[in-house]
């Protein structure tokens, strides 16, 4: 929690805050482009904050906050939190089918509900929460800048 707070504080206070309609089409593992916009898809406002060696594109609506972590023009992580999950296919892109399969496979191993934590095929997916409050993130460890730790991705 302290990490999340300090990251947020950093974005809010210490670095240039770009409150702009900056298109941030971004899907895990792919390039940031300006063609389409997740923000439009999510009907959210976007802001970009600069961490030491990556950018955080944050899209916020009342229903959910989505963050996309970008380094060298590539999205290496996405996270979300809110009353409902955002469009995971849009966010997870080519990783969505395999993660979907992995979640289903885990379900038939063990009945009963619990947070999801899956590492498979070079990607990590974690989801938690309950009614009205869901969180999750997915990241590609091999694409993460060297100094970034998983706990920085909130």
């Amino acid at each position: 929690m302290a990490k999340g707070l300090s990251l947020f504080g950093l974005g809010l206070v210490c670095t240039a805050l770009l409150l702009a309609a900056m298109p941030a089409r971004a899907t895990l593992g792919e390039s940031v482009s300006t063609v389409t916009s997740d923000a439009q898809h999510l009907r959210a406002s976007t802001r970009v904050t600069q961490a030491s060696n990556y950018e955080v594109h944050e899209m916020q609506s009342g229903a959910a906050t989505v963050r996309e972590y970008v380094s060298d023009g590539k999205v290496f992580a996405v996270s979300w939190q809110g009353q409902a999950r955002p469009d995971l296919k849009q966010l997870l892109g080519s990783y969505y089918p395999q993660l979907q399969q992995a979640v289903q496979a885990e379900k038939v191993q063990r009945a009963g509900r619990h947070p999801i934590s899956i590492q498979q095929g070079g990607v990590v997916l974690q989801m938690s929460g309950h009614q009205r409050a869901f969180t999750g993130r997915a990241y590609v460890p091999n694409m993460m800048p060297a100094t970034v730790r998983a706990q920085d991705l909130r």
Binding site: A63, Q81, P86, D87, H114, P115, S128, H130, F134
Partner: protein
């Protein structure tokens, strides 16, 4: 698990107050498993059992740590009724959701308030449920509790309803529209809120602030719609004529090695009868999403976004990098300490109340496959790090779920709370 710290400005302020309160002390108490008394049967007491679950789950090894009860539903205003068994009691969601394949009644359609048939895509942590909203009278067998004309969700596991739209399916990594998906025939959501969605779902369907739970499907084309509060899927407890301000889920202490089956009580109402007083329970008020802060470890780190949820089948918290407990080799979602770890954490309510809880973590790989109730199965919950006090927390405790709202917060408050 949910973190509130960047969701909205008011919540950032709220977190600030919460942290301040955390440093201010407030009332304090300690709750230890054991010694609690499970309320005997009565007009406001339903029986709840944790066991392997319905026969359909045998192929997946049965359900672990799911609390089942029974619910009777009737066509509104009639004596045409059906009893549903294997209904999972879930303090982490709101509303009754029944698999269509287990429903023999023909119930009237739920409306959006303007006469149009409603459908719902509800989210659980591991998937979605999709199906029509229908209306039923609900009563709890063995009790006097009854709620009339309650919007519920019928979960379409038989493919008889319009297919789930992609905006529903893509919000999850899979469907819960099955016995295996629910680990039950139905889910009785009796969490802190009166509806599953609330104000956000009253916004127009094309408003980005609408979380998108409710749909209209004219001509088989489904789009998100806004729905008045009263037409949303309702927490049945809030609609009981009496005992409608919350509930208490109670289980005896169980052996750390686990048991095949254990029964407890689900008591309706808090402070409404002689058998449901709050007594000396620590009462923690919750934030707008139903969470509190847990303080854990020698450094007394604070983890906001922590919650109590009978629908989670373990104690899920942090990860090895934060608590030093080894994660399992076979499935790193779970903990595998070499010996049982006895731990304690302090929960802090929004009201400043503090309560220390003791809990245990066993090696998840060594738990017996012939047992279905464990008080020490635990796994990770590190995004962001927080505590999900699932069903193991309820063994040896009487856990109160106080509903939101002016009347719901009785006897001692006006907001949603958990007490134990």
């Amino acid at each position: 698990m949910k973190s509130r710290f960047v969701i909205s400005l008011p919540l950032v302020f709220l977190l600030g107050s919460l942290l301040l309160l955390g440093g201010c002390g407030g009332s304090s108490s300690t709750s230890n498993p054991g010694g609690n008394t499970v309320t005997p049967p009565g007009d406001n007491v339903a029986q709840v059992t944790v066991n392997a679950g319905p026969p359909e789950l045998a192929s997946v090894g049965g359900s672990v740590n799911t609390a089942y009860t029974s619910v009777q539903i009737c066509v509104p205003g009639t004596s045409t009724c059906q009893t549903i068994n294997y209904v999972a009691v879930d303090t982490g969601s709101e509303g009754l959701r029944i698999l269509a394949s287990k429903l023999t009644l023909s119930l009237p359609t739920g409306s959006n308030g303007s006469g149009n048939a409603l459908a719902e895509c509800n989210q659980f942590v591991d998937g979605y449920t999709w199906g029509p909203v229908q209306v039923a009278d609900i009563s709890i067998p063995g009790t006097n509790e009854k709620a009339s004309s309650v919007p519920i969700q019928v979960v379409d596991d038989s493919g008889s309803f319009t297919g789930a739209p992609v905006s529903c399916t893509q919000g999850s990594a899979g469907s819960d529209n099955s016995v295996v998906g629910l680990a039950a025939y139905a889910i009785l959501g009796i969490g802190n809120f009166r509806q599953d969605c609330g104000g956000a779902c009253t916004l127009p369907g094309n408003n980005g602030n609408n979380p998108g739970l409710y749909y209209l499907c004219p001509n088989g084309i489904c789009n998100v719609t806004g729905v008045p509060i009263v037409n949303q899927v309702q927490n049945p407890v809030a609609l009981f004529s009496t005992d409608n301000n919350g509930s208490i889920l109670e289980f005896p202490t169980i052996d750390p090695a686990g048991v095949a089956s254990v029964s407890g009580s689900l008591v309706f109402g808090i402070g409404t009868q002689s058998n449901n007083a709050l007594g000396s329970a620590a009462q923690l008020t919750l934030d707008s999403s139903g969470s509190f802060t847990t303080v854990f470890g020698v450094a007394k780190n604070q983890y906001p976004g922590s919650f109590v949820d009978s629908g989670s089948n373990g104690l899920y918290f942090l990860d090895q990098s934060m608590d030093g407990i080894p994660q399992c080799q076979s499935n790193s979602s779970f903990y595998c300490p070499t010996a049982i770890q006895n731990l304690s954490a302090t929960n802090q309510g929004l009201n400043g109340a503090n309560s220390t809880v003791n809990f245990s973590v066993a090696n998840a790989e060594n738990l017996s496959a012939s047992f279905y109730a464990f008080n020490d199965i635990a796994g990770i919950n590190d995004n962001p790090p927080a505590f999900d006090f699932g069903l193991p927390f309820f063994f040896g405790r009487n856990v109160y779920t106080g509903l939101e709202g002016v009347n719901g917060g009785q006897p001692t408050g006006t907001g949603q709370y958990v007490a134990y």
